[in-house]
Symmetry: D2
Subunit: 263 residues, 4 copies
């Protein structure tokens, strides 16, 4: 391998793995956080609006720091009983202030452990709503920018929100989903449709490898689709998530891809 090629190639051969973490609440458990913290490089940590409570946040941040995993605020609509999965029509001002509150709360635990919140990722219904809602995207951008700590936004390469983030000067990190079917337009196939979620570890591993290498994946219908991504999302709330993450990680390593946080 020559120097130049290696250099170019090494830039492409880095990927982050992010996963939702800290979604326990009080006496309730959710997700195999301890196992996943050994496999991923970025932890999207719930901040109390859809899941998470101060004890869970503290334990999750402590675990992430111990495992060398970067910390992001997994911000949500205020809907604990709905786990943040239900659309709510909130105003831009409500989103700005709800996001600031959540980032700040998580930052307290990060500070305690000598680190800081590095990025923001929207959760559930808010994640989906943001993609094509410029008002919400503008509000998220405002929260992130006025918080003032160089936070980036982790989101998918689709929708009108990307331009909003770009214009506002918010650093964006793109992510892809190795275990979800895509439409030819680069959108996720709704979970309600059959085949929308891929559960075979080998298939997920292969798809993740392609995403990391910048190779096209197969969209629904058979078309080739290129999804630009600096991070791959590893779901934590599905059975078998650890096995998927293990398979994905092995596949990436075998392909010479370095798994490393983006932040």
């Amino acid at each position: 391998m020559t120097g130049v090629a290696a250099g170019t190639r090494s830039r492409e051969l880095v990927i982050d793995l992010n996963s939702d973490m800290g979604e326990a609440f009080g006496a309730y458990r959710m997700g195999p956080d301890a196992e996943l913290l050994q496999l991923v490089t970025s932890a999207n940590i719930a901040c109390g609006f859809h899941a998470g409570d101060p004890r869970t946040m503290e334990a999750t941040v402590a675990g992430a720091v111990a495992a060398g995993v970067a910390i992001g605020a997994h911000v949500s609509y205020p809907d604990l009983v709905g786990f943040g999965r239900r659309q709510m029509k909130i105003s831009a001002d409500e989103l700005v202030t709800d996001v600031l509150y959540q980032i700040g709360a998580l930052e307290a635990f990060a500070r305690r452990h000598g680190t800081s919140v590095r990025y923001v990722k929207a959760h559930g219904a808010l994640y989906n709503d943001l993609v094509d809602d410029e008002t919400l995207a503008g509000a998220l951008a405002e929260a992130v920018l006025t918080y003032g700590s160089g936070l980036s936004v982790l989101t998918m390469p689709a929708g009108t929100s990307l331009e909003v983030f770009e214009k506002a000067g918010v650093p964006v990190v793109l992510e892809a989903f190795a275990d979800r079917a895509y439409t030819p337009a680069g959108r996720l196939v709704s979970r309600k449709e059959p085949g929308s979620v891929i559960t075979d570890p080998a298939a997920v591993a292969e798809r993740g490898r392609r995403l990391a290498l910048g190779e096209p994946i197969e969209a629904r219908g058979g078309e080739e689709l290129r999804v630009q991504a600096r991070s791959i999302c590893v779901h934590s709330d599905t059975p078998g998530s650890v096995a998927l993450a293990v398979a994905l990680r092995e596949s990436l390593t075998a392909a010479g891809v370095q798994v490393k946080a983006f932040s």
Copy 2:
């Protein structure tokens, strides 16, 4: 003015006025915040556990910054329907993490407005419980110290908690109450007893002047009592609170006391 006398006297002639702020919630209002922000020098801002929501926190911080008022986190037990006025038996770990969460959430709004949280004051039942509970005091100290921003604790000069704070190395700022009756031992007379709350502006003003000058006040029963204080608490949730604050402020100014934040 000679050096020593001036030095001694100028130290005594400075007092802070603190008041509970931002206790609105959603559609609900509480307290004449706008008026009080023109009169006090430190704002104890609710963080969502007994009162306050992200919009209220944002507006209160913005108002405090505009008025040059210092910002403190008014931390509480998690009891919105009880307004934080009911005792809860929570563990030290629960208090540490609940306090970190609240400080962090408020800090986000402070950051947005170019300032930072300067101190922590416990609210309601937690305030009372802390005075003589060394476990809770230790937990508050741990939260404040591990947050790591030079925060001080605003509390009254009574109980075993003071020694806990001192040993832990937490800066303590003492406060007195110009509108409350004291026992000869320096405790507040329970609100359930007649005469426990002083509502006459002239009486409050005179009491505040004495507290600021380090002169003794009259405890219940007639005994003289000296209450050491760098700050005087101005209640916001009682009718006539603005008139009391105005009278107190005028009395302090007339006595040559400078009203100035401690932080």
Copy 3:
């Protein structure tokens, strides 16, 4: 006046006045409930989802029973911080069960005072969403019917939900708004538009009289509009609501209209 005409007329000369009640929460107050309970005949009582807590519900039910006012469950989306004013996309199953929960909780206080919940009225965003959403209307109908106590639904004479209620066999009571501007199609003019809310007591009183007598009112643009109504809603959360209710009640009495609960 002939016998038949008198009979017909006396049926028309009865109107109910309904008002939102019990919207306090914990330490927070909302609305002049005590005064309004002397003026209205049906109380839409908050059940804890947008406002209200068990103490408030108990006190409001006790007050309504003492004043001879009928009790209805004012059911809402679960959004305390948003006061139920924000749209949420909840499923039919979620609405059925949320409504059952709220009716049942209120019924406990009604039972304690020897009465029962007589009707259901949706609050805020849910009220608006229901008018044209057949799925939500079907869910409300299912909740009301399976609760099994002869409950009626109080709503406005507009939208596709009326047919859903009718087909399901849910008794519907129609209401009008004496203090709101109407479009020629019988919809309320959005609160965001100027002139949408009428605050002049004389105008509200005259409009209420017309509504009670079945006479047309003037819609926005000047057209005549007939609004069928067995009840008139008296807002409780606006300044001057008591004065409006007094003026409305006097106008109705002067016109020979009997103010009487529909249930």
Copy 4:
């Protein structure tokens, strides 16, 4: 077997098995409800204050009705994040109204399924606090009596609350714990002490048989202790709870004890 003996004996040979149910919340699961509903005869159903949400309550009531299991309201302090396990100092009025709210909410689902709430059992910290707190016991009695449906209270045979219930005329059903160590005074050994919880199915089964037959069990220290009980509590939130319940049920059947709801 003579008539009298048979009569006496048959009264003793009936026992109820009760278990905490419906402690899921939103996306969170808790306890093997489906399995336990096939084994117990009374379901203590969470009402939203420590656990439970309207969907969970609906599903749990539906399951209980399908399995022929009696329904009780498992009432709690309002502390979702603490799962109702933390003491709160609430007033008598607060307990009365909180309990009424919870019973009523559950009753709505019971009505929907053609049954009704039969009894009330306090949960967690409230259960423990009630045993020796006559004010709380009086408040619970008031809630139950003013609800007015012949509800009984399920509690343990200890403390001063029993007399309060008796004087107030509240039917009390006594319960014992087959998987918990008892002090010689008939109190439960704190969970913090080693050996406080019995996890061996055979031991639990034998202990349950003795309790059902009115035979003494061994208290901590070896003394014999008689615990009067019409119901045995089967914990649902511990690993192996289904195996324990199966062993207990088999042991009771083998001993000729009929497992039957008390209500």
